[in-house]
Symmetry: C2
Subunit: 437 residues, 2 copies
């Protein structure tokens, strides 16, 4: 009989049961664990180390854009959240509310931040007076809470970790430039650091951020054919500036509202990375992000062999000094058990970005017929490039009938002449459709 | 008339009005700002950069101790918090409670973490089964909330940032070793990185952490003669292990409770650093922690001078490549205004630790007479080294009559024969007394 402890860890096959495989991998590789708090997970050390790698890489890019890190309260007075109408409508169903503090009922309830536009811009109004104070670029690494009904580790959890960048500018042009720069940083992070291909583009009015003028997202495709919105960058126009009275005196002495942006990337990135790269043996990690890049597992049969093997390992270790190397000396486990364990934890090196890109290309279909559209969404799913007239009613009907939503209008999309896939009216762009996480 | 914007920033003199000076410095140097949320502050970029410097330095030390970073939910179910009796009694008056989630009243209220022992050890019980799983060393960088009545930026705020380390061991000896190692890391951080002298020692039973067997703290002395508890490391014994059933099978197959420790350092460290080092001109920063170490302020009278000065600055910059240098090219401010601004922000280099140490030495008094004790606490305050018999009643009376509490029994204290400063009974150690923040 083999003790529980020494049993080879078992996970479902990715090809056979994708959902089960994902949960198995996340739990068995020690990336996360469930908690007694509904919808919240623990980021265990191996999972948190992946997040630290993303943080380090992205933080450098954010600082290069001229944004500086700060920290704002995690509690937001309810009345502040209500200032921007669309914003509060969008977030109201998802809020966690503190009503008791220090043993007493609070006069005004405090919302646990679902995002920090409102608390930040209340302060921006105080800090910004003249054109000299612009642009103001603030970034924050923090936890946020959104009360979610259906949760999945990393992909959608009640509490998650993210960075949120917030900027204020003198002109709309400058703000639009910032929206694009933030998205470029995300694209670079996903492609070069995480080896994850995706499509960047504009969200439709119904899918944009609550309170934004326009949103840009990076949409990735998961192996089950569903899309994952992997980061967003928003042109907030002057919507919040008007709600929070964020004004400045321009060089000519006129009082104007600022133009604002916000942009964020969350621990959801980890979910996408696990889903896309992993295989039947478990996790596969891009070398840049892997906490351990190479594992050395000593095998010997007697004590003389042991000392020879150890000498040899010390030599190897010197030669590998540029890599993150782990020597697995645990005496209580067999080499076979260790091979399985490290395979599950995704240590061996691979080239991954080309594969991710190929998968997206092979699963992106140009469709001109609604019946075909429906067949694809009932079958293999994936991205569909189809003409849409821009009418929210068509968008809504498509969602009802196929579960597919507009993911984005790719930044690379050119104007073409076509007919809406749903109503047949004139359309000018092919949008990207998919079922989303 | 000078525009508000160009007025030299004014702060109170440190020597004349210490409390006012502290608030002026924190606000005017752009370290923090008040918020619409009672008792919460914003860590503005210049203040947050100081915290980032501490994080980077301390994170390296923590990883060297073998602890790994992770992230646990910020919400704790009320029933978990109630498991350890002393712990819940200590923290109950300070809790913020979420009672509404997603628009509905929660069946069980969630406490916003004041510290994470309970949520973590619930998981430790699941993760630890055998001696092979020990030691388990987890660290977390996060925000915590304690509902405070009187707040002061950095020193005591309702929400603050910290790291909390939590370990589980097979033996008490190993746990005690960890308690000491964590404190040694804090001492090193304070002395070498922040140039802040202090005294490390054991807390009395009434001042220890709620639920701990014994606590060690680092006590610093502020310029107004009051003590600041600047970090703590706790021997939790088996108190939480019993409450949360954290057990393991030892090598002989016997089931035993683990021995635990926890230790933390918070953004309060910034408050101590500002208070101790600053002078009448504002902030003074230790070179290691200063976000900007050298500022170059160009002065010229015409455009020809301008190009000469700029060439010269470029030369200087090359020579200073090992330092964090800022060239202040802002055209709208005069050189004089800039000098004042950077002085306030504490940029010029100084040697600071010797001064901090001297201040502590000069303000630590050995006292054997209770009347003298009272005179000192009504006057210059500072640390008092006095015999105490160990009776909590004496400790309590001294607190009532002089506002001074036992800060710690210094680790370096030797056993001596003496009489309790309050009751005159036999005493074996000189404790450190002070009025505390």
């Amino acid at each position: 009989m083999i003790l529980e402890k020494f049993k080879k860890k078992q996970i479902a096959k990715k090809s056979a049961d994708f959902s089960r495989w994902y949960i198995d991998t996340v739990l068995q590789a020690g990336l996360a664990d469930y908690t007694p708090v509904k919808g919240c997970i623990i980021f265990r050390p191996y999972g948190y180390a992946l997040w630290e790698s993303i943080q380090k890489e992205l933080d450098g890019k954010i600082k290069k854009m001229g944004a500086k890190n700060a920290y704002f309260p995690s509690f937001i007075p309810e009345k502040l959240l209500k200032r921007e109408k669309e914003h509060v409508e969008g977030f109201s169903p998802e809020l966690a509310v503190v009503t008791i503090g220090g043993g007493k009922k609070l006069e005004e309830p405090l919302v646990v931040r679902p995002t920090s536009e409102t608390i930040m811009y209340e302060m921006f109004a105080k800090w910004i007076q003249s054109w000299r104070d612009l642009p103001l670029k603030i970034n924050q690494w923090c936890n946020v809470v959104r009360w979610e009904k259906r949760t999945l580790p990393f992909i959608r959890t009640t509490e998650f970790l993210w960075q949120e960048g917030h900027t204020a500018h003198a002109t709309h042009k400058e703000a639009l430039d910032q929206v694009r720069k933030a998205m470029d940083a995300y694209i670079e992070l996903y492609r070069q650091h995480l080896a994850l291909h995706g499509v960047a583009g504009y969200k439709s009015a119904s899918e944009k951020f609550a309170g934004a003028e326009r949103s840009v997202s990076y949409e990735m495709l998961m192996p089950d054919g569903r899309a994952l919105q992997a980061s967003t960058s928003h042109d907030l126009g002057q919507n919040f500036a008007r709600a929070f009275e964020v004004k400045f005196q321009d060089k000519e002495g006129r009082t104007q509202y600022v133009w604002q942006t916000s942009w964020g990337l969350s621990t959801r990135a980890l979910g996408g990375m696990i889903m896309v790269h992993g295989d039947d043996n478990g996790l596969i990690l891009p070398p840049q992000v892997a906490p351990i890049q190479i594992v050395v597992i000593p095998i010997f049969s007697d004590s003389k062999g042991e000392s020879q093997v150890k000498d040899f390992i010390n030599q190897i270790k010197l030669q590998l000094s540029g890599f993150r190397v782990e020597i697995d000396n645990r005496e209580t486990y067999s080499p076979g058990w260790k091979f399985n364990e490290w395979e599950l934890k995704g240590v061996p090196l691979r080239r991954l970005y080309q594969r991710s890109r190929l998968f997206v290309q092979q699963n992106t279909r140009e469709v001109n017929d609604y019946n075909e559209f429906k067949r694809i969404m009932a079958g293999p799913r994936g991205f569909i490039r189809a003409f849409w007239c821009g009418n929210p009613e068509c968008e809504n009907k498509i969602k009802e009938e196929t579960k597919a939503t507009t993911r984005c209008l790719p930044l690379s999309a050119k104007e073409e002449k076509g007919k809406c896939i749903y109503c047949g009216e004139e359309a000018h762009h092919r949008w990207l459709f998919a079922q989303a996480y």
